[in-house]
Amino acid sequence: MGEHAPVVSSQRIRRFAFLVPALACVASVVAFGELSIGALVAVAGTGVLVTLVGLRGRAGAAAPRVGRRALPWAAWLGAAVSWELVALFDGDVPTVSDLADPVLAHPPARGAATVGWLVAGAWLLARPSSRPAGS
């Protein structure tokens, strides 16, 4: 047990280090509400922090290659971005955010969406940065 203790402790510290700003971010978004400087600072600050941690830790550097097998996903992403651009330049067609705004206007939905966004960020940071020993 003794030899695993430092690893467990390190994982706990990492989780705690992510949890504190994450909870502060959710609380700020819910408390300050939409179109507020407070929510903007909390979300943008968390976004910058996670981006810097991911770049510094080389998150995903050791993820397995998928090559051309990912082409269907690239096409799917291209279609989604194309539709958003069409909606953006056509005043009659609402964008995804136009459709989501009425839902996200409610604090509980906004809080839940913030938690989902943070979980996605934590998942991105957890992408393998180095190959496991022996592989």
Partner: protein
């Protein structure tokens, strides 16, 4: 058809297509899962920066504007 219904239909088609791709990937077809594809996009520094910045922008766009 109004612009609003066109947008809802287009987004529903995208959602169903995405779910179908994910399902095909999990059934062992010749397609990676969305997670595998996203992870693979993060192998290079440029790809990693793009994915992380896109994630950050989505948060600011939907939650803080």
């Amino acid at each position: 058809m109004t612009g609003s219904s066109a947008s809802v239909i287009a987004l529903a088609v995208l959602l169903v297509t995405g779910l179908a791709l994910e399902l095909a990937a999990r059934r062992g077809r010749h397609v990676p899962t969305a997670g595998e594809a996203l992870g693979a996009a993060m192998r290079t520094t440029a790809g990693r920066a793009t994915v992380l910045l896109a994630w950050a922008w989505l948060g600011v766009h939907f939650l803080a504007r």
